[in-house]
Amino acid sequence: MKNIWFVAKKEIKTYFTSPIAYVVIAVFLVLISFFYYSIVSWFNSQAIQMAQNPYYYQQLNINQMVYSPLFGNMSIVLLLMLPILTMRLFSEEKKSGTEELLYTSPISVSQIILGKYLAALIVLLAMLGLTGILSLFTFAYGNPELKPILAGYLGLFLMGAAFIAIGIFFSSLTENQIVSAILTFGALLLFWILNWTSNSAGGIGKDILNYLSIFQHFDDLSRGTVDTTDIVYYISFAFFGLFLTHSVIQSRRWR
């Protein structure tokens, strides 16, 4: 446990002594704030229109009309940004030769992987946590429900955790950071749009494609519905990525 933390601490330090973490977090916040602003403006204009009709006015729902689309936007931005966060984790160690230090130290490969994973998760938490400031405005001037918002954040965190695991896997494959980022991005996007073909697949193929699609699982969570299937999906996705990383590193050294 301690060893995992030692590695994580080093990675966090590296994230914050280099500009990577600041740039990723800042760009993320700028984009999300802009999305928030434009969605809330749209919501306001809707509210003014609907105020004339008491029936429609009842239908106005901040959670549905502001948070669901906002979470959708956040998930896309995460898809774009997280590969940048993970691309260097193993590639750089390999390229600069520092992997020799890690693997000749009395800590296990799993501890190294989990340490790096933990560090990226903490940066993800920071990214998501800081967007919470936006909710202060919604709560100050409106009356959204808290639970669906928390469910959405849980979804974003789990999805990000799965993204990071896949990113770490691709980072362990190559010593080139750009290659690692592009592969991660491609793989994630592919999983994202996997269900687009599900209608033509039909039958069991449809179910499988729908189940594998990242988007399908996020849909429920962003609407505020916490379903264990979705949680299990993201956790197994993350576990799978880390497991593959472990296999890659072990096999490299045994070859």
Binding site: N3, F6, V7, K9, K10, K13, T14, T17, S18, S96, G97, T98, E99, E100, L101, L102, Y103, T104, S105, P106, I107, R253, W254, R255
Partner: protein, 308 residues
């Protein structure tokens, strides 16, 4: 302290190390000498647990590096060929991280760090980012990270590569000063490094062991000729003609009153020569035996392919 038996490593079809065996006693410095691509780095990587061997056994202080890797790694300090540095970290933050992952207990971490910084002369740069320090200091940081957990065994892969002559001397001094407390293996393709710092040497070429042993023993066993350098006060030509008559002398070089005299290995003609000098009253100024140097030995072994 370090024992390697029948070590073999294949990268696919390429045989990098083949049936290598040697032993290093406690508290000594041994050099792993060989031309580039001889298998030095591979051998060291196997000893440190970075690479598994295809076949054979390696033990460090009684721990098998394959069976008990964690125990072995705890007592090995390793400086890889490419110094493993994180350029974005400060020297002290980096050393602290290494101490952590080398399992130095929290209570001893500070002490270990101070000791390593002092031993490797890093005091002036401890607060600076690694990317901003000079090549020589980077190499020292590499040595400091190898020392930080006070390992019994130090494995240094080409510790002086890329340094300027003054730095090379400093690093050699540093390595010598670590002897005794630590058992050290260092690899190099620089011959003087071995003669100046090592007690023993393992010479490998194309993955095979060519020779190993203590330096004096090795040079003695590979010697074909013995000889002396002799300086006289007077005598000159006369002495030369007399020396030529001494049975067994094979070669004489004369330059005024200075002679280089050689005979085939096994004999000892020093008594005859001194007797002659004293009898004739030429005045003995200096007499020393010519040791075969490691360079001759190395070239002979590596180019001639003499296996022992």
């Amino acid at each position: 302290m370090i024992e390697v038996a029948d070590l073999t490593k294949k990268y696919g079809e390429l045989l990098a190390v083949s049936g290598l065996s040697f032993k290093v006693e406690k508290g000594k410095i041994w050099g792993l000498l060989g031309p580039n691509a001889a298998g030095k780095t591979t051998t060291m990587r196997i000893l440190t647990g970075f690479l598994p061997a295809t076949d054979g056994k390696a033990t460090v202080a009684g721990y098998d590096v394959f069976e008990q890797p964690n125990e072995a790694k705890r007592i090995i300090g390793y400086l890889p060929e490419v110094v493993p540095l994180y350029p974005e970290m400060t020297v002290s933050a980096y050393l602290n991280f290494v101490a952590e992952i080398k399992q130095v207990p929290a209570s001893k971490r500070k002490e270990g760090m101070e000791k390593a910084i002092k031993a490797s002369g890093l005091e002036p740069v401890r607060g600076r980012l690694i990317k901003n320090i000079s090549r020589g200091f980077k190499q020292r940081v590499g040595i400091a990270q190898a020392l930080i957990h006070d390992p019994q065994v130090l494995i240094l892969d080409e510790p002086t590569i890329g340094l300027d002559p003054a730095q090379i001397i400093e690093i050699r001094q540093l390595i010598k000063s670590l002897k005794g407390e630590h058992t050290i293996i260092l690899s190099t393709h620089i011959l003087q490094e071995v003669t100046q710092t090592c007690d023993g040497v393992v010479i490998i070429n194309e993955g095979k062991l060519m020779a190993s042993g203590l330096l004096e023993e090795l040079t003695a066993s590979f010697r074909e000729k013995d000889g002396i350098v002799l300086k006289l006060r007077k005598g000159g030509e006369e002495a030369a003609t007399h020396f030529k008559k001494v049975a067994g002398i094979e070669k004489i070089n004369q330059e005024n009153n200075e002679f280089t005299i050689e005979w085939s290995h096994g004999k000892d003609l020093r008594d005859e020569i001194t007797k002659l000098v004293v009898e004739k009253g030429w005045g003995l100024v200096e007499m020393r035996s010519i040791a075969m140097n490691i360079e001759d030995l190395y070239l002979k072994i590596v180019s001639g392919g003499v296996a022992q």
